[in-house]
Symmetry: C3
Subunit: 139 residues, 3 copies
Amino acid sequence: MAVHRQTFSIKTKGEVHVIDISDRVSKVVRDSGLREGIGCIFTPHTTCAIVANEFEPGLMETDLPAALERIVPKGSGRGHDHAGEANGHSHLRAAVLGPSLAFPFSDGRPALGTWQQIVFVELDTQPRTREVVVQLVGE
Amino acid sequence: MAVHRQTFSIKTKGEVHVIDISDRVSKVVRDSGLREGIGCIFTPHTTCAIVANEFEPGLMETDLPAALERIVPKGSGRGHDHAGEANGHSHLRAAVLGPSLAFPFSDGRPALGTWQQIVFVELDTQPRTREVVVQLVGE
Amino acid sequence: MAVHRQTFSIKTKGEVHVIDISDRVSKVVRDSGLREGIGCIFTPHTTCAIVANEFEPGLMETDLPAALERIVPKGSGRGHDHAGEANGHSHLRAAVLGPSLAFPFSDGRPALGTWQQIVFVELDTQPRTREVVVQLVGE
């Protein structure tokens, strides 16, 4: 049994930029030498999220932004906006989607489904450089 | 310390079918022989979700479907619908609820509350056969 | 490699009371003596949630309650309300936000971002005493 930790950075284009990070996560699992265990994909920021779903452009680039606008409209984070940047809604959307994904890995690979990708979702209004932590525990 | 992995299948009836899988998850923990650790319940599909809440029919069979219809209405996934099946909204609902649940287990059992069940939520429009992975790391 | 488990209680004031529990979680990691691994913060209740975001009053005490009211309005859990307490919407909100957060820890501390706190969210209508479980696996 061992712990393996690896981080990587991504550059995002602002609201709502979706990036398929499945290959990078798979590479971390491969690099670790671990075969079986549990992983945690975690982004240490408060205006982005990790989602596991199908990385299909219509879904990710059209439907997801529209759904987020319906669920948490721009301007709905005014309490926070008064404190500085006008990104209160970005925080709220991040709270709904979540910055963390626990996943099983097996046979040296994330045990994802055929149509299931790991997607980084930038929710902030500005382009950013983001960090993703992949932490594995297993054997 | 060891890793234990077990999967099981469930047959669902389509949108929105909720199934209490607590007993099956408890059985995996029991079968593993592990006493203390962290588990991950994961479904490798993109139109269903894992939720931990009270499996009470009024809540699960009336309120949850109505809430999902309010949050992500049918037809709100048109970008994806154009790519094939008319289940874009199922993907969006799955992205909001999530396919993964991390949980502690202790004394050989999932450390759930008295009223807390583990619920598989089918969000797709058609009946399906679904896989659930339960991966444990502990001692 | 080892497992460490610790629980603590918090007293809440009812709907929507947010409490920053970052220090208590950090203390559990410190107390464990573990340096690297994965943790799971889990609340064994069905009308509260664990969120990781910025604990800024405008966001947490004004925007989050307003967002929850928009996403799952009071009174939208009537199927469950008929079964007893009028807190169906609290259950639905808890299902959307989730009772569990997986996180990496490194160097003996939760690997959170600078602006990222761990927030307990009371969603029930009444003050309650709540339990939080922090379970760690690592070395």
